[in-house]
Subunit: 242 residues, 2 copies
């Protein structure tokens, strides 16, 4: 079904990245397994990846938002968490191995449909990240995966993390568009509902494997707040007439 | 001549845009001439373009840097100047025509070698703007001309204009690189010399037609401060082994 109405009103699509554009979980697990093969050290990498993500990223962002920690970039605080976790998991790494593992977030692989879908969407719309990741991470991730962004919008540009209002508002301000011409695209309903409070259009893309085969799932979207629902970026492009 | 040394030390190239990547003068003149044909109103468009650029852009940035005017984006202050200039040149325009002329800065054409050179450079380096133009202008210009930036860095992200230190420093900070791994690329020696004070590498690309056939020229570069000199982006790519 082509919703040519909304596809003609919207001028730009901005994307959550971790989980929506790239498969952080399997990329981190794959890097960990490579390190295990090289060093002969066994680690439960799915558990490691999930702890790094939940505690090193989500919980730290919550602390910064609550004023319990100073603003830092994701690269900085995820590195701190990694340095705590490595000995806890019984790992011994050289400085180069630690740096390589830390930088796996700059080398996350796109979901299989992401590049094809973005390439189609780019012909009709401005496409940009709108991510809590820092700029260098997002630029390097795009280089690694071939993500054809027109612009990299990041928490680092406003020193506020989603779902703070400043982050959503920065998309309209920096792209020079009214908020209702910018569509937030995410696999996370919380992100989309927050963007809706700032008058953005919303696209929910299901990523059922984000937390693994038996991982938690998003619920059903409230269609009062979600304009488009798709199972891939290619489906999204079709629905928007791109 | 390939300078593989510097081409292997540098990780990112950042580009001045107006005059270096795009030919602002002939693009504005061409838009003006189109408007003249459509409205039957005659204007000396080369003079118009140069006044808009010198007074609406350079002089206003100088005022903001001197603290004589508040920070605004280029879109805002160049629009103000346009609204002054239109009646002065005896032009009568509809709101749509005025908006279309204003937005010509979002539709500037690249120099003929720019897309080919950038496409080659992008395979080896991170490539980004580092421009006094605002983000929306630069994103739209890239879309118009097919400029394949990895990132759009702009005065709007730091609310300071080149040659303020914060602008040059933002390139290293946001790209996550030491300053001596970032190469400032420009057709203007003043911009390059200022970047050098912040430890950047420098590439001077000659654009002898920036101000027209008989327009002012840049002098000879001080090779103590300029690492690479080229006549096009394709030559630059060759010299950097890209």
């Amino acid at each position: 079904m082509t919703d040519s109405g909304i596809g003609n009103e919207v001028k730009a699509l901005v994307f959550d990245t971790f989980g929506t554009v790239v498969d952080w979980r399997s990329s981190v697990v794959k890097a960990g397994e490579k390190l295990s093969r090289e060093t002969g050290q066994t680690v439960d990498w799915p558990t490691f990846a999930e702890e790094w993500r939940r505690k090193g990223y989500h919980e730290q962002i919550a602390k910064i938002r609550a004023g319990e920690a100073p603003y830092e970039t994701t690269d900085v605080f995820m590195r701190h968490k990694l340095e705590e976790m490595v000995p806890k998991y019984g790992l011994k790494l050289t400085d180069d191995q630690l740096e390589w593992l830390h930088k796996v977030w700059h080398r996350l692989d796109p979901w299989p449909d992401a590049v094809e879908g973005l390439t189609r969407l780019k012909k009709k719309f401005v496409i940009a990240t709108l991510s809590n990741g820092n700029v260098a991470l997002l630029v390097n991730m795009a280089k690694h995966g071939g993500l054809p962004w027109d612009m990299v919008l990041s928490a680092e540009l406003v020193e506020k993390f989603k779902p703070e209002p400043e982050m959503y508002q920065s998309a309209g301000r920096l792209l020079g568009l009214p908020m209702n011409q910018v569509m937030m695209t995410a696999a996370h309903l919380r992100d989309l509902y927050a963007s809706r409070e700032h008058n953005m259009r919303t696209a929910f893309v299901r990523r059922p494997l984000e937390w693994g085969k038996d991982g938690p799932q998003e619920g059903e979207p409230d269609r009062q707040k979600i304009d488009v629902v798709a199972n891939s970026f290619v489906e999204l492009a079709e629905q928007l007439g791109a």
